[in-house]
Symmetry: C2
Amino acid sequence: MSDGSRTTPAGAGAEDDPLRLDLHLCFDLQNASRAFGDVYRRVLRDTGLTYPQYLVMITLWEHEELPVKRISQLLRLDSGTLSPLLKRMELAGLLTRTRSAADERSVIVRPTAAGSALREKAKGVPAQIHAAAGLSPQEASALQRALRKLAASLDTSLDASGPRP
Amino acid sequence: MSDGSRTTPAGAGAEDDPLRLDLHLCFDLQNASRAFGDVYRRVLRDTGLTYPQYLVMITLWEHEELPVKRISQLLRLDSGTLSPLLKRMELAGLLTRTRSAADERSVIVRPTAAGSALREKAKGVPAQIHAAAGLSPQEASALQRALRKLAASLDTSLDASGPRP
DNA sequence: GGCAAGAAGATTGCCCACAATTCAGTAGTA
DNA sequence: TACTACTGAATTGTGGGCAATCTTCTTGCC
């Protein structure tokens, strides 16, 4: 260090330092997300599902059959994530993947009997999660609104400042 | 399917179905988190840091030197995540890792000159993120409070129902 | 028909997260 | 002093997430 910049702890940790960790909303967000992950891990244990796999099953229980593309849109996951994930779930006997006859590019995903049956086991999951979260329905949906607004704003900012040709 | 259970889309997607995707707070949370990730990726591009690496640098800029254990506590990352991450950052010339003389089990992490210098480049990051989030300071800290309360509640529920010996 | 453009999945490569194990070092104690 | 218990890091193995690339198939247009 030959210049005059101060790199002492006192200087770096000053009260108005915008780089302070505890000012980072994103950190709190990830923390809450991680805490959810811990709870889901425990609650989903006897279904054998991971949290992302649980999300896939929810979409399949809702729609009975879906092309990979649609799952990708619903869960905001790209094929690089979804392909191996679905492959593991197929191997576990939860779903089948078959090329669409109408459009050979498309792969249709359907739950197996075992996959559908799992719905009974998963029925209680949302209630358990809700209890662990300890939020009133009003608080929960207020938080959801805030998060959706936030995500929308962040996405928009990317569209605005970003998409280079 | 030999029993009488209905697995039709209509049955599964009913309006009061607790398994509906859009009722899952956690999904919105992860979405917001992912949106943050996208923005951070772009904003951090010319620092060469990933978001987790940025968090590590923040803690180092604040404290100048830290044992791995302390970083682990501050960022809630375990050694399985932190060890390779710090190794990559050391390889990138951002920090050094040296065994503590006082306690040979402990490894002390310090920023290099290059690592400290990066602080200048990162100075503008929080403001850019804040702008992209589009929240007033009041909204932001309200959201932080809500998220911390949520995370605390989730963590507590784990302590209560979980910790098998 | 034939060709260019685009769409859907899969693959590869890198990084992060977590569980479980291992190893070296420290501390407490008979 | 030896024996044990514990602690801090590192490693191994699995699963997610994303960027970039590739293959195959469809579509549109000449």
